[in-house]
Amino acid sequence: MPRIVIDTKHCKGCRLCVTFCPKKILKMSPIISTRGITPVEVTDETMCSGCLNCVVICPDTAIEIIAGDGSEKPEA
């Protein structure tokens, strides 16, 4: 199952991915990150259609999609 990995170090909370996710499975996290902003989080990974809209629109390359069983760590 694919994993959608949000890198909260890079995410600046611009919300563009939320706007363009056709499955509406992205929302802003209620938890403030160490950057002092609310990053994005995934509500239901199983609904991801793999359209990559979030990845394409993200200005900070803060979203990675890892295929497979999700047990590997994402590349740094």
Binding site: P2, C14, I57, P59, T61, E64, I65
Partner: protein, 246 residues
């Protein structure tokens, strides 16, 4: 089947200084993706402008040269003539290219220097705090056009992609937009084409990219993308103005 997506190898892991929702981050990523795809990192030399992207060299994993404001195409000329086997691209904003660097871009284009120009047009001077740019649309308020851009005093916005398409040695001139994932994908195709054009030694090519500046447009990032569609794209229509393929 879910496709994988990983941070491009040609993009440094550094957190950029760009504002949330800034178009530079998207364009940097597209360039890095294409360089990975075409396996060009080992022979790419980028030229960074003066403007918000002045620190672009901190975000790419290949050789980059700083340029004085506006002189980016001249520096690119010097580099490409010295290292013709390298992929040489100049990366410029609207002040760098269309104000102080007007002579350099026109003559570099006219000579048909075999380089790729990535022109990020967000119609405002971001780095210095939101002043009017040569591409600011009529009527728009900025810190140096507080009553709105007045064509009688300031002239109309300059349409660079159309202007450069007039020169015979310009083989590809196009304008794209970052206002949606669909348009970003189109921008990606255009950037890839300008790099391939150079590798094929066809001559000068430029991609003008309508890019959001949420901070100095005083709007949230998603509103900024709408502004590109509703206002910017009317002043600067996306399209292809010169294409060696046609």
């Amino acid at each position: 089947m879910i496709r994988e997506y990983r941070r491009p190898a040609a993009l440094e892991d550094a957190v950029t200084h760009y504002c949330p929702g800034c178009g530079h981050g998207i364009v940097h990523r597209l360039i890095a993706e294409i360089i990975d795809e075409m396996d060009l990192a080992g022979r790419t030399i980028g030229i960074a402008p003066v403007g918000c992207a002045v620190l672009a060299y901190d975000y790419f994993k290949f050789d980059v040269c700083e340029a004085p404001h506006g002189r980016t195409p001249a520096v690119a000329t010097g580099i490409k003539r010295a290292r013709p086997e390298c992929l040489v691209f100049s990366y410029q904003g609207d002040g760098d290219l269309a104000a102080i660097g007007t002579a350099e871009i026109i003559h570099t284009a006219n000579r048909g220097e075999n380089i790729s120009v990535i022109f990020v047009n967000n119609a405002v001077y971001g780095m210095t705090g939101g002043q009017m740019a040569p591409t600011t649309p009529d009527g728009v308020k900025t810190t140096t056009s507080p009553r709105g851009r007045d064509p009688l005093n300031e002239g109309h916005p300059i349409k660079v992609a159309e202007l450069l398409a007039n020169f015979e040695r310009v083989v590809y001139s196009t304008r794209v937009s970052l206002s949606s994932p669909k348009n970003v994908r189109e921008a990606r195709r255009a950037i890839k084409k300008t790099f391939q054009t150079q590798l094929d030694r066809r001559g000068f090519s430029i991609v003008e990219i309508l890019s959001p500046c949420p901070t100095y447009w005083h709007m949230a990032p998603e509103a900024a993308l709408k502004y590109i569609d509703e206002v910017m794209a009317k002043v600067f229509p996306p399209g292809v103005f010169r294409d060696w393929e046609k």
